[in-house]
């Protein structure tokens, strides 16, 4: 296939996910001729809304919004481009005895609810909430900063190390210890220190394992919890919300901002190769044969996909390739998107219960969650999966016809490859869906009959459609050995690569996954720095 020249740009971004679009926006706003290329006919990556069943809009992958950095929202003026996030303020775990534990973002309401189960737990909740909030406050400023290389002697790295050391030291002795503990503990053990009621622990623990190849008792999962608590909706810390029109609303707003800034998007053909010669990138060749030239290429794809599939290995040092191969990207999540003929009944919930508008679960205990993880380790999907189930049409009626509903069910754990050797694109996919549906039906007797259409997305499907290796939603495990200056490869945590002009801007880089847009903003800042842009024009750039 001979490539035909199809244009010349200052910057080409590979992949129109939220991070790719974010990076492109920052660069286009500085006057750089910027192009985003996307393999699918639609844009959005894993922040996407699609109509797969007439009249229903699914948030096919990511489904709720909280982590999106407010700096990015402000810099790109996303609300003006149509972004609207509507908070939901409660959730619940249904118990096997026909009851429920409700979660309210209102502190006092939650305290009252907890005391229905245990007075002691209610007292300890105060301490728990404070501990988690303190950790959120500590980590937040680090999200929009480039991680230093602790082995480097560059003044920039030393200064950043000093900054981190000072920030850490400023916590005071007690909190320094608590921070180390929090970062290295399991969510199970962390919760065991505060609560005695199993269902309360199970409710809180879900956030520690979503998207990971870890169990509730694996050290490091307490930190993952933070990844779900450090967000905000309109300044309300820890709040979660629905994006009007589904998660595609985020990327649509970004695309609009990009177009306004003069950037361009070409969807429908993916990148075949990122060109590199003599250690420098020169552009990309698309699958359709188009050659696009640019001295700067930013990849929104994960690190393994970028360097193992799309870059000539001869251009990469062996050590780097080895480290990339070693980077752990383990698929562990599945997703069901369901069109419902009406609102399913939940007999446990009192009439008009507000928590039905939020996230619903049915995991009873930490042991049930840990066993679900063991199933995954053995190459099976969980017999008793953890799910995070929401009906966004309660709050956002745009997603289904009047009176009808859309349900999104995130499922943990499902392995990328089944130990049985069965492929995912056969009966296994339906069997997984049936496991989940049966579990939901235990708490909603009419649920099964209301199903009009469902989309089942196994890790294999997510990989094939979105391009996330193994279908891992974070573009790589969020474990210590892959965080901060270790993400994705020690020595390359600054969004750069051994190839001059080639950058990473996806969740494979610091600070990792979730629809945060921080890696995209950070990568753009590093690109601008290399291109000699001096003055900081936006808050994300000023943050560094």
């Amino acid at each position: 296939m001979s490539a035909r020249n199809a244009g010349r740009y200052d910057v080409i971004v590979v992949g129109a996910g939220h991070n790719g679009l974010t990076a492109a926006c920052y660069l286009a706003k500085r006057g750089l001729k910027t192009l985003v290329v996307e393999r699918n006919d639609w844009i959005g990556g894993a922040a996407v809304s699609r109509e797969l069943y007439e009249g229903w809009t699914y948030s096919n992958c990511s489904y709720v919004c909280s982590l999106l950095r407010p700096e990015v929202v402000r810099d790109l003026d996303l609300p003006r481009h149509g972004l609207q996030v509507i908070p939901y303020e409660s959730g619940a775990t249904f118990t096997d005895d026909g009851g429920y534990f409700a979660y309210y973002s209102d502190h006092d309401a939650l305290r009252r609810e907890i005391s229905r189960f245990s007075r002691r737990d209610a007292d300890n909740y105060e301490r728990y909430a404070r501990a988690v909030m303190r950790q959120c406050r500590f980590i937040k400023p680090l999200l929009m900063r480039t991680a230093p290389d602790p082995a480097s002697n560059r003044p920039r790295d030393l200064a950043e190390l000093l900054y981190l050391g000072r920030r850490f030291h400023d916590l005071g002795e007690r909190e320094m210890g608590e921070t180390i503990r929090f970062w290295t503990m399991s969510i199970g053990e962390f919760l065991d220190e505060y609560f005695e009621t199993e269902v309360i622990k199970a409710h809180f623990a879900g956030s520690g394992i979503i998207g990971t190849g870890l169990g509730v008792y694996s050290p490091g999962t307490a930190y993952v919890l933070l990844h779900h608590y450090m967000g905000e909706v309109d300044g309300t810390i820890g709040a979660w919300g629905f994006t009007r029109g589904g998660m595609g609303g985020v990327t649509q707003a970004m695309a609009s901002a990009l177009t306004e800034a003069g950037g361009e998007i070409r969807a429908g053909s993916g990148v075949a190769e990122i060109l590199a010669k003599n250690g420098k990138t020169t552009g990309v060749v698309l699958e359709n044969g188009d050659l696009l030239e640019a001295p700067t290429v930013i990849s929104n794809m994960d690190v393994r996909r970028t360097f193992l599939n799309h870059v000539d290995q001869k251009e990469l040092p062996d050590d780097f390739t080895k480290a990339v191969k070693r980077f752990k990207i383990r698929g562990s999540s599945a997703k069901l998107n369901i069109a419902l003929d009406g609102f399913p009944s939940f007999p446990a919930a009192p009439a008009g219960a507000p928590f039905l508008k939020g996230d619903l679960h049915a995991s009873q205990s930490l042991e049930e969650l840990e066993r679900a993880y063991d199933d995954w380790k053995a190459g099976r999907w969980s017999a008793e999966p953890y799910f995070d189930m929401l009906i966004p049409t309660c709050i956002d009626p745009t997603m289904a016809p009047p009176g009808k509903h859309m349900m999104t069910v995130f499922v943990q754990y499902a392995p990328y490859a089944l130990a049985s050797g069965e492929p995912w694109d056969g009966p296994a996919r339906d069997a997984l869906a049936e496991t989940v549906i049966a579990k939901i039906a235990r708490h909603s007797p009419d649920f099964r009959d209301l199903i009009l259409h469902k989309e089942v997305r196994t890790p294999w499907d997510i990989e094939h459609e979105v391009g996330l290796t193994e279908g891992n939603i974070f573009q790589g495990e969020l474990t210590f050995d892959q965080m901060f200056f270790n993400r994705p490869v020690p020595g390359y945590a600054d969004y750069r690569s051994p190839i001059k002009g080639l950058y990473l801007c996806g969740s494979s880089s610091h600070p990792g996954g979730g629809v945060m847009a921080a890696p995209g903003a950070n990568a753009a800042r590093e690109v601008l720095r290399d291109l000699g842009f001096k003055s900081a024009a936006t808050s994300a750039e000023r943050a560094a």
Binding site: M176, I180, T184, D481
Partner: protein, 522 residues
Amino acid sequence: MTRYDAIVIGAGHNGLAAAGLLARGGRTVLVVEKNDVLGGAAAGYEIAPGFRAPRFAHLLHAWHPQVERQLDLAAHGLAFARRDLATLSLADDGNHTIIERGEARLAAGNSLPDAAAFAALHRRLQRFAGVLAGKLLQVPPRLESPDWRDLAGLAKLGLDLRRLGAADAREFLRVLLSNAHDVVLDEIADGPLAGALALDAVMGGHSGPRSPGSALTLLYRLAQGGGRHLPKGGMAAFVGALAEAAQSRGAEIRRNAAVEAVLVENDRVIGIRLADGEAMKAPLVLSSLDAQTTLRLTGVEHFDAEAVRRIRHVRCKGVTAKVNLALSALPRFDGIGEDLLGGRLLLTPSVQALETAFDATKYGELPACPALEVLIPSLADPSLVDGSGHVMSIVVQYAPYHLKGGWNDAARSRLAATVLDLLERHAPGLRDLIVAQDVLTPLDIERETGASGGHWHHGELSVDQMLTLRPVNGLARYALPVGGLYLCGAAAHPGGDIIGAAGHNAARLAMKDWALLEERVA
């Protein structure tokens, strides 16, 4: 009432080391031990008349050379029957792997595909462990308003790290908090060799090879070089040398003297009371018991609420059991010569199998295939058995403290049967040689040594319970909030395994504090 300068609770290796060092510093010392036998988890005993076996721990691999020198243990009878034992990791197909001084080869002599990769990995881990080695004999640094010693320690750590070179320093920081499963399997294929390395990472702990942080315990184990040594005369002789070293300097040791309470007056420790009501006075009390037990003996009213809560939450779920056998003759292992049998035999077929065994433990179940570390110390040291028989000492990783249904006789027999079945796969006829056998569950370990949960390390050796967080955040510098009361055992930094560093560090600190106090009084 009898008065001493210092009383040490518990005559385990750390208690005895602390007593020896206190006595060496000129203090009058009393050691009180609840058992008739000294040694705690390092004790030896007679399993059957004429058969002397280690009761719990059976090897020395981290014993700190500096503690040994200061106590001059060699002069008090410590000798080694064999140093740097080879490890033999058994394979079901008979293709056993020998690991010796960081090199691996197949017992059959043919070449091992992963030999070079293993050697490189081992060298790298050894190098990384070297960075940590210096921390063992140091009191964990104060993180806030550190003194010059703390700062120097931290600076040295930074310097050591940089001295590794950029590539290794980065790799160190990546591996440090990683898990054994990934660190090992990134380099070599899963099998008995990988399983052996992973077992070293999790031995004694409630953690599986996939648990993040397990790489750090592996590095910890390699910090003293990773060599494993067999004391001449068994663990009893090692403990004997420690006791002798303390007594020769005037320390007194009372056996069968269980402590009922640590006595406190005006927030200062004033002595102890024994179960029989007898009280002894001392301005310094060093407890080699775990933090929870020490708290209980002292009384929660002397600690602030936060300290009590933290200590009660120290994780110490014991998962390691012991099976000891007296054998009428040397068992025959298929395809293994007598020279290799004298080393350390491991039954840990793969990292995967180890993780599966751990999974059962999490739910209070006995795994079908626990990993075993088997020793026949009487091969290297015939003095352990009168006559022609042998003793076999088996560490069983994993057997949960909280076994579903409890540790009744049926459960014990099941554990013994599981272990013997696994061994008979390689040593058919082993059962016929058994003269006597002891099954020691984590519950027995708790009853006999006093370690809460029967945990070998007096608390899980995980990152959130290490260094400045051991045993708990805020109490990591040996001294407890009650004046004159110290932790000197595995509950304190650097934790479990027979190192002696906790005893050493606590004794040094206690003497320093005492000197300050005397100055003030004067």
